[in-house]
Structures are given as structure tokens and as C-alpha cells.
């Protein structure tokens, strides 16, 4: 450790102002603070500070994503064997297959995203923000496995530059960057983000079993009717086609548990969003309308990206409502919107991404009204006194 610290200090002058690698200062700083918590002490205000920092906050979320990621790897292999009629793969084999397919996507996501973050930090003279540690892991998990890597790279660049940096970087963005990346691909290259083949490794190129459809349960429900949908148990466990990390509700719930126990994720949003979707689903069950309204309400919670979006996307503290009361409203409305888009929109089978993005835009408005209520309480005191 001392050796490492000494080496680090030795090369530090090179990155300081006037040093040879001055332009790489933010990169040096990023790596140095990753290795060592800096020796900076408090100079103003409270003399002691909590050990919690942004790195720890973000790493907790990344940790919470691990179950979904690991299951996703396995499921990539599993779906591949089903589509191509492979019978002799072991569990490890399937996992390894999926891992090797997913790894390049993760690498591309981090390389492009962190690269832009380093440049942005250097231009602004700030320290590197850790926000992308989470975003960079989220993006591969909400992509179809067969999406080309260059598309991942382009969407990451779009999300980080247009979705985040032009607003001032982490903490200032209006839209969830990971969902911005997905929405960008969704509208730019719809052929690669929707359909039946894209969700399963290798199926786009053809060669799958005759009659095998790689459609997600949501698409099945929409196109073929409920009778052909996978069982609720299968959807809950996650052995179904879909984006890499979104299929297994079990794995996502483990992540949710980590976020809730540590207090990093907002239980208010998770709870209200689930209740919102469930309530809307039950309402549609009662009123009817089209065939889709008859899907059992709880199916909405285990189909598609709802669970993943609720736990990891809607709870992003920067883009969600920031007041506690606002979080209930924001969550509930998001949940309701997910179901409405799913059931009534003829174009897209899935509504989670668009519902969350729309509510990201609405969140400041919700907060505005919540804060205004506080202001009115305070003004009332003056007038009644």
C-alpha cells in the first residue's frame, strides 16, 4: 500500500498545472481517488464528515445490479440453446456463453461513457463524477443482446453528451441517462430494438429452429393473445426473452432489497410505482376495453421492464421527484402510465421506458407544487397571526 501511494505521489507532479500530462489531470485524479480516499481535511463548516461519499453511493447501486447481471448472462445462454435446439449445454456453459456475449457491451459502454466523462471533467476543471459507474452498467442491461456494439457506442455518446453533460453533468440532468441511451436507439434504429429476433443471441442472423419465435411476453400478449404467454412463474424467474437484465424479477428483487436496506434507493418510489401499476391494472380488469385489458393486473409487474425500471430507473434520485411527497405522486403516476401505454398504445408493446422518461420531465413540476404547499403554509402563518 505504501509503495503504491509513493508511486502515485511520484507521478502526481506530471499531471499538475504545467506538468507534462496536464491535460490528463482529471484522469489521474479519477484513478488516484479510486485507489485512495484523498487526504483532504475539512477546512470550513463541520469538522467531521460522514464516511459516505459519491463513490460508495454509486457502488452500492452497481452491487445491487449484480444479481440481474449474473442472471442475464445465464439467460442469454439459455435462450440461445432454446432457439437453436441445443440440448447438451450445462448451466455453466450457458452462463459463460452469455458472459462472453455481454462483456464487450459492458466494455464499450464504460469506455465510451467514461471517456466522455473524463473529457467533460477536464474541460470544467471538476473532479470526475461517479454517476457513470451506474449508468454504464445499466445501459448493457437494458439492451437486447444482439444489438451491434457500434450502436451501443453511439447511444452511450448521445446519452452522456446530450442527456447529461450539456445540462452540467451528473446531478443536473433532466432525463435518466441510461434510458436516454435506450430511447435514442429505440427511435433511431427501431429494427434493432423491437421485433422477435433481437432478444436472442444469433437469431437476427437466422438459423433458429423452425417455428421458434423469440418474442417477449409483452409482444406475445399483444400479437398472439394471452393464451400463448409464458407462465407467471417463468416470467417471475426470468427464463424468457427480453433485454439482458430485465427478465428476472427474482434477481431484481434481490437488488431492490440491497437498495432498500442501505437506504440508497427510494422505497417511496418503488412502493408507489408498484401500487400505481397494480391499481391501474385492476381498474382495466374491471372496465375492460380491449383484449389486453384482461391481462391479470399482477402480470404487469412481472412482464417486460417494469420491475427493472421501478427498482433501478425510476428511483434515480437526480431525475425523480426530489421531495418525499413528490416521490409518491411521481411513482404512482409512472406506474399508471406504464400500464396505460402497454394496454392502449398500438405501436409499442412496452411502456416502462417511455413512462419513466415522461415522468422525469414532469418531476420538477410535481416538486414545484409540493414546495409551493410548504410556501403557502409559511405565508398563512403571517396572515393568520
Amino acid at each position: 500500500m505504501n509503495f503504491l501511494l509513493k508511486q502515485m505521489k511520484n507521478i502526481e507532479p506530471l499531471f499538475k498545472k504545467g506538468g507534462r500530462f496536464e491535460k490528463l489531470h482529471s484522469v489521474y485524479d479519477g484513478f488516484a481517488t479510486f485507489l485512495f480516499v484523498p487526504d483532504k481535511v475539512t477546512s470550513r463548516g463541520a469538522h467531521i464528515r460522514d464516511y459516505m461519499d459519491m463513490k460508495r453511493t454509486m457502488i452500492i447501486v452497481v452491487l445491487a445490479l449484480m444479481p440481474a447481471l449474473l442472471f442475464g448472462c445465464y439467460n442469454i445462454g439459455l435462450q440461445h440453446t432454446r432457439a437453436f435446439g441445443i440440448n447438451d449445454w450445462t448451466l455453466m456453459h450457458m452462463f459463460w456463453f452469455g458472459f462472453l456475449k455481454l462483456l464487450p457491451m459492458i466494455i464499450v459502454s464504460y469506455l465510451v461513457g467514461l471517456g466522455i466523462e473524463f473529457v467533460a471533467a477536464q474541460i470544467r476543471g471538476h473532479e470526475i463524477n461517479e454517476g457513470y459507474l451506474v449508468t454504464g452498467m445499466l445501459i448493457p442491461l437494458i439492451m437486447p443482446i444482439d444489438v451491434p456494439l457500434w450502436m451501443v457506442a453511439v447511444s452511450v455518446a448521445f446519452a452522456v453528451i446530450i442527456g447529461k453533460e450539456i445540462f452540467g453533468g451528473t446531478g443536473m440532468n433532466v432525463l435518466n441517462p441510461a434510458l436516454t441511451a435506450r430511447a435514442f436507439l429505440f427511435f433511431s434504429y427501431p429494427g434493432w430494438m423491437t421485433g422477435d429476433a433481437i432478444w436472442i443471441e444469433g437469431l437476427v442472423k437466422g438459423g433458429g429452429l423452425d417455428g421458434f419465435s423469440g418474442a417477449t411476453p409483452l409482444a406475445v400478449a399483444k400479437l398472439e393473445g394471452m393464451a400463448n404467454m409464458p407462465s407467471a412463474m417463468e416470467m417471475f424467474i426470468g427464463t424468457i426473452p427480453g433485454s439482458v437484465g430485465e427478465t428476472s424479477v427474482v434477481a431484481i428483487l434481490i437488488g431492490a432489497f440491497i437498495l432498500l436496506v442501505t437506504g440508497v434507493g427510494s422505497w417511496r418510489i418503488m412502493l408507489s410505482m408498484t401500487l400505481g401499476a397494480l391499481g391501474m391494472g385492476l381498474l382495466l380488469n374491471a372496465t375492460g376495453g380491449n383484449e389486453y385489458t384482461q391481462i391479470p393486473a399482477y402480470y404487469h409487474l412481472i412482464m417486460g421492464g417494469f420491475a427493472f425500471g421501478t427498482v433501478f430507473m425510476a428511483t434515480d434520485p437526480v431525475t425523480a421527484a426530489q421531495t418525499n411527497t413528490g416521490k409518491y405522486i411521481y411513482g404512482a403516476l409512472t406506474g399508471i402510465l406504464v400500464v396505460i401505454i402497454r394496454v392502449f398504445n398500438p405501436a409499442y408493446p412496452e411502456g416502462t421506458m417511455l413512462a419513466i422518461l415522461l415522468m422525469n420531465v414532469m418531476a420538477p413540476l410535481i416538486d414545484h407544487y409540493v414546495v409551493n404547499a410548504n410556501i403557502r403554509r409559511r405565508l398563512k402563518r403571517v396572515t393568520t397571526a
Binding site: M1, L4, L5, T33, L35, F36, V37, P38, D39, K40, V41, T42, R44, G45, A46, H47, I48, R49, D50, Y51, M52, D53, M54, K55, R56, T57, I59, I60, E127, N129, E130, G131, G168, G169, T170, G171, M172, V261, T262, G263, V264, S266, R268, P317, V318, A320, Q322, T323, N324, K327, D367, V371, N374, I375, R377, R378, L379, R381, V382, A385
Partner: protein, 450 residues
């Protein structure tokens, strides 16, 4: 009639190094100092020069905007030097103690005096600056009549002295005289907030002319601003005054003995001192007296006040005007390998991401390391948990950063002081200097409203 107010929000920081309840007599020191930074917003005009002889109670400087407010010497002696900082900003008037001459301001029964007479006596004796006002948490303006006066009779800050122990070693008669003097200054009430269960100190039990309130809850329940918010909040256009309980005693002493004598009982606490006890000391006295032979070996920071709101001073520095404790904690200028990723069994935290949360009741050593780098606000919903007021902390802070006067006013700037936000600053993973932002907001309000 008294009420019990229960607060759930807040946080008790379990810092190790509480002071033992043993009271030591005043230690003789020769160096005294009055620091200008103890009075935020003050523009001072000096009344003495280096080399001047002063008595205990002689005027050292006064407020430029309000010349009646005088700041006096705590001891008799010679003005050794007047130190200045950058841009020749006044820093401290340093006095070498010599002799024991005291200015006599005359004995009087405050209840027989008029409001003007009481005010005049407090101003002349230089004890006036112990009165501070909300809004703004600055020295009160003479001439104004506050709606109420608030006194906090307990302190919940980390390692704070037990006020009950302090009061049981204090002259109860002075306390009542002080209350009587204050009662001449307001048409409203004098509110005293005690910890739930009430005080055991003799002088506290039989107080007259006050309204007693009981508070239960973690820090910052002992902050007078929080107490005001729950008893009778300060709205726009209203004015209340606050002061420390031991300064009520000092006011009483002034009327009973005619002397400016703010001797107080303070706690010497923290992991950096060997003998953590209670001491008698006068504000301005060099802390070298109580720290002599008492500091641990190594790199430590001496703080006049508590670890959340106190000021860093040198081991010879002057004890602050408003403080009630001295804390010594280790400096944190070290690198920690992967410090942000450790399980955190020995790291106290507000956050449940540290295993230390699983072990209740333990006390922890803490140092001055920032434990991270400065970032934009990301996390939400937690700052509210340590601020027991109906105020949206982040929205107020952002309004201040944007310089939006009207919004600051609407969001409650009149009710707060930087100390109320100290815990928000402590828990902040983005390491924002929140207390400084709050003070800059208050300064902006003062500038804009006058």
C-alpha cells in the same frame, strides 16, 4: 403550562471522548483575545490601540453600524497586539492579563428598572452581544422589541456539556436575576426549552417569569432555532431573541454584582485530550491553560465549540465568545486505500451502507478527513431526515445559490441559522459546504433588507 415536544428527525453522532463530570477550577492564563470572526456580519471600529491599558469591562471596539453595541475586554491588562488577516481584515484583539481592575457598572434590581435602563446597562457593560436575533442569527439590535426570547437549556451536539451538571454548579440566584432582566426587554414570553424529564439543577426548578418547554429527540433538538420552530416559528416581519443559558447567568451577575464577568463552565472533550473534564473559563481566555500537558501526541485539531459548528483554533488560541466546549479530534490528512469500499465496521455513519449500523451503542473515533470529493447534489430525501423543521433544505440551499431573495424568504431563511444545517452538511455524500452557503444566504438577506 409546559408542553412536551417529541422530535423524530435528527442524528446523534456517537463520537468518543465525553467529558467526565468533574469540575476543575479556572486555570490562570495571561493571554486573552477577542476574535472578530465570532460575530458574523460585524464591521468593527476599534476603541483601543496596541499598548493601551484596559480593565475588565473596558471597551475594545464597537459596531460601526450601531455604535451603542460595544465589545469589552474580559480581563484587565495591556493590549498586546491587534492582528489582521488578508486585506487587513481585523482578526483579534490580544490582551496580556495584568492586575484585576474591573469596571463597576453598578448593582441594580432589574425589575425596578425600565426597558431603556436595562438595555442601557447591557450595552454599556458590553454584555449585550450575548443576545442574538432570529432572523439572521446575528447580534440583536438595541431599540427593537422582540416578540419573545428563547433560551435553550440543553445541548445535543456531539460531546456537548451536560447543562444540568453545569447549572448545578452555578449560582441559581444570578439565573433568576438574568431572567428578570430579560423580562423587561420583551412584551412576550421568555421560553426555556429543557430536555424531556426536566432539569435536576436546583436553580432551574423554581424559575419564575418563564415558560418551560420539554423536548425529546436526537440532535439538533437542543438547537434554539429548532425549538423556536416548534414553539412559535418566526414569520416574515417577526423578531425574536435568543441567548445561551450561561449568558443569562452572566446578565444576572452583572445586575447582582455590577461586574462584566462571563465566567462559564465548559467541557473539554474529544479523543485528543488525556483528561476530559469540566472547566471554569472566561470567553477569550487562551485554551493553553486547560490543554497544558493534556494534549495527546500527534496531529490534532483544537476546536472552540463542538465538532459540527466550532472554529479551529491553535492550542494557544482564544476560547470563543459563544462557545461552551473545547473539542480536540485527530486531523485526517492520510490516504486510505479503497476507503470508500470498506465494510465500515469501525466507521460511524448516518448511512446504512456501513456495517457499524449493526452494532448499536458503540462510540467511535472520528477525524477531520473529508472522506470524499466535492460533487453536485445527487442524493435526495435524506437531508430532511436530519432537519426537524418544516423546511426543504435542498430547495432552500439552491435558492441561496441562485441568489433568489423572494424564494429564500418563502422557503424559510428567516427561521434558520447555519448550525441548524450542520447535520445536513455532515451526512452529505456530495461534501457541499452547506453551513457556509446558509450564512452567505443570510448575509445576502441582511444586505438586501436594509
Amino acid at each position: 403550562m409546559s408542553t412536551l415536544i417529541k422530535l423524530r428527525k435528527g442524528l446523534n453522532i456517537k463520537l468518543a471522548g465525553k467529558a467526565e463530570k468533574i469540575l476543575l477550577p479556572e486555570v490562570e492564563v495571561t493571554r486573552f483575545g477577542v476574535r472578530f470572526a465570532d460575530f458574523p456580519g460585524l464591521v468593527a471600529r476599534l476603541d483601543v490601540q496596541e499598548g493601551d491599558r484596559v480593565m475588565a469591562g473596558s471597551v475594545l471596539f464597537h459596531d460601526k453600524a450601531c455604535p451603542e453595541i460595544k465589545y469589552v475586554s474580559p480581563v484587565s491588562g495591556v493590549v498586546r497586539e491587534i492582528t489582521r488577516g488578508e486585506k487587513r481584515v481585523l482578526r483579534e484583539v490580544v490582551i496580556d492579563q495584568q492586575g484585576t481592575e474591573k469596571v463597576d457598572f453598578g448593582v441594580a434590581d432589574p425589575l425596578s428598572l425600565s426597558r431603556e435602563e436595562v438595555t442601557d446597562k447591557l450595552l454599556k457593560s458590553g454584555i449585550w452581544p450575548v443576545l442574538r436575533q432570529r432572523p439572521y442569527h446575528v447580534v440583536a439590535k438595541p431599540g427593537a422589541v422582540p416578540r419573545d426570547i428563547f433560551i435553550s437549556a440543553f445541548d445535543t451536539a456531539p460531546l456537548a456539556p451536560d447543562i444540568d451538571f453545569v447549572m448545578s454548579n452555578t449560582h441559581g440566584g444570578h439565573l433568576q436575576t438574568g431572567i428578570n432582566a430579560l423580562s423587561r426587554l420583551t412584551d412576550g414570553r421568555i421560553h426555556i426549552s429543557q430536555e424531556a424529564g426536566g432539569s435536576r439543577a436546583a436553580g432551574m426548578k423554581s424559575l419564575q417569569n418563564v415558560e418551560v418547554h420539554y423536548f425529546k429527540g436526537p440532535h439538533p433538538a437542543g438547537n434554539v432555532g429548532v425549538q423556536i420552530h416548534h414553539i412559535a416559528p418566526v414569520s416574515k416581519g417577526e423578531l425574536v431573541w435568543t441567548l445561551d443559558l450561561q449568558d443569562v447567568v452572566a446578565i444576572g451577575r452583572l445586575f447582582n454584582t455590577g461586574l462584566h464577568d462571563r465566567e462559564r463552565i465548559i467541557a473539554l472533550a474529544g479523543p485528543g485530550v488525556n483528561h476530559r473534564k469540566y472547566h471554569r473559563i472566561r470567553p477569550g481566555a487562551s485554551v493553553s491553560g486547560i490543554l497544558k500537558g493534556n494534549l495527546m501526541e500527534g496531529n490534532y485539531r483544537v476546536i472552540s465549540g463542538n465538532v459540527l459548528t466550532g472554529k479551529t483554533i491553535s492550542p494557544e488560541g482564544s476560547f470563543g465568545f459563544y462557545d461552551n466546549m473545547v473539542t480536540v479530534i485527530p486531523e485526517g490528512n492520510y490516504h486510505e486505500l479503497f476507503g470508500w469500499a470498506t465494510p465500515g465496521l469501525k466507521k460511524f455513519s448516518y448511512w446504512r451502507t456501513f456495517l457499524s449500523k449493526l452494532i448499536p451503542g458503540r462510540e467511535y473515533e472520528m477525524d477531520t478527513n473529508l472522506h470524499g470529493g466535492n460533487r453536485a447534489f445527487v442524493v435526495t430525501g435524506h437531508y430532511e431526515n436530519v432537519l426537524p423543521m418544516d423546511i426543504y433544505p435542498i430547495h432552500l440551499i439552491k435558492a441561496i445559490m441562485a441568489g433568489d431573495i423572494e424564494l429564500m424568504e418563502n422557503l424559510g431563511i428567516y427561521e434558520v441559522a447555519e448550525e441548524d444545517f450542520a447535520l445536513c452538511e455532515y451526512i452529505d455524500p456530495s461534501k457541499t459546504e452547506i453551513q457556509e452557503i446558509i450564512r452567505s444566504g443570510i448575509n445576502l438577506m441582511i444586505k438586501e433588507m436594509n
